[in-house]
């Protein structure tokens, strides 16, 4: 196990499209262990995607049992070749990312998602997540498509103030 270095913006490698995982052998297990350790060492500790550690593969980890505030969660999710197949609801939340240190901004996310994925043995799985876990899933899956939360910012700060009108 090892804590892997995190790529940080504007590293162009964060913008790559990750490749699907085909090999579910011991190398995958080793990478999952490293990802878990690296995630745990981060400031948030609840999510990580393989492209963040320069492995351009469709793998991410989400563990909302480690969230600072208790929330509905499925514990550690090892998501391989994940895909969100259903979305509903909308909420604004202020996100940060290990790959963009010291910056947070408001991002709109679905409040509930259904995600299909394969587990470490290649078996098909489905998870229905809501709230913070749904947000974390969407954030981490975005990394697999080379998308960062800064691509989805709706406002840096407030979002309740009336828009300025031109009179």
């Amino acid at each position: 196990m090892a804590i892997l270095p995190i790529l940080t913006y504007p590293d162009p490698r964060l913008k790559r499209l990750a490749a699907p995982v085909a090999d579910f052998g011991p190398a995958l297990a080793a990478l999952l262990a490293d990802l878990a350790e690296t995630m745990a060492a981060g400031p948030g500790g609840v999510g990580i995607a393989a492209p963040q550690v320069d492995r351009s593969l469709c793998i991410c980890l989400v563990d909302c049992s480690k969230a600072r505030k208790a929330c509905a969660n499925h514990g550690l999710l090892e998501l391989i070749n994940p895909e969100i197949v259903e979305w509903s609801g909308m909420a604004v939340g202020r996100e940060g990312c290990m790959s963009i240190p010291d910056f947070t901004a408001n991002v709109v996310r679905a409040t509930e998602v259904v995600c299909q994925y394969q587990d470490r043995d290649g078996k098909a799985q489905v998870v229905h997540a809501e709230g913070f876990e749904a947000r974390a899933l969407q954030h981490e899956l975005d990394h697999l498509a080379g998308t960062l939360f800064i691509d989805r910012v709706v406002s840096k700060k407030r979002d309740v103030f009336p828009r300025k009108r031109s009179r």
Partner: protein
């Protein structure tokens, strides 16, 4: 004092091209525009920014900002900062929160709210106010972002008391930050 940074404020009648002209002047003076806040307030445009000085120092900055400001009818001021003054304040142990106050416009809304927060050592990090609604029924809207050393519930209870006296509606919510 070893000056590397200045706080620059610029303001004047709003029109398109103010930001471009100021940014070009800074670039020409080989200064670096760092953190900034720029906004339209009624018919005025106000700029607050931290500038890292180039080799030409304050003199080069003034030589370029002066004419640019004059051309656009803008007032400006420079406040030198020592390198040690431009660090980011520690946020540890403070809860980020968003406080909104709405009510019929009347004098004396900001002062009591801000005094209440100050007495609890709540640090206001951003504040905006606007008079909205019709001319006959003006509504005062204030949005504050702050970092609070006391629990949000305590702010809520206290601010509810302040708001009652002001006949305003107040809401306090913790800004949840999701480090992912």
């Amino acid at each position: 004092m070893d000056v590397h940074y200045v706080l620059l404020t610029v303001s004047g009648p709003d029109r398109p091209g103010i930001v471009a002209a100021i940014a070009e002047a800074l670039l020409a003076a080989r200064c670096n525009l760092e953190d900034s806040s720029m906004t339209q307030l009624r018919g005025e445009f106000a700029i607050l920014l931290i500038v890292r000085l180039g080799d030409g120092g304050v003199a080069a900055l003034e030589a370029h900002i002066g004419p640019a400001a004059r051309d656009l009818g803008l007032a400006y001021a420079l406040h030198p900062l020592a390198a040690g003054e431009v660090g980011r304040p520690a946020a540890a142990g403070r809860t980020p929160c968003l406080i909104t106050v709405f009510g019929a416009d009347h004098p004396g809304i900001v002062a009591p709210v801000a005094r209440f927060l100050a007495d609890l050592a709540v640090n206001i990090t951003d504040l905006s106010t606007e008079v909205v609604g019709s001319a006959a029924k003006p509504v005062y809207a204030m949005v504050i972002e702050a970092r609070s050393p006391v629990p949000v519930e305590e702010l809520e209870t206290g601010l509810a008391r302040v708001a009652r006296d002001l006949a305003c509606d107040v809401s306090v919510k913790e800004i949840e930050e999701y480090p992912l």
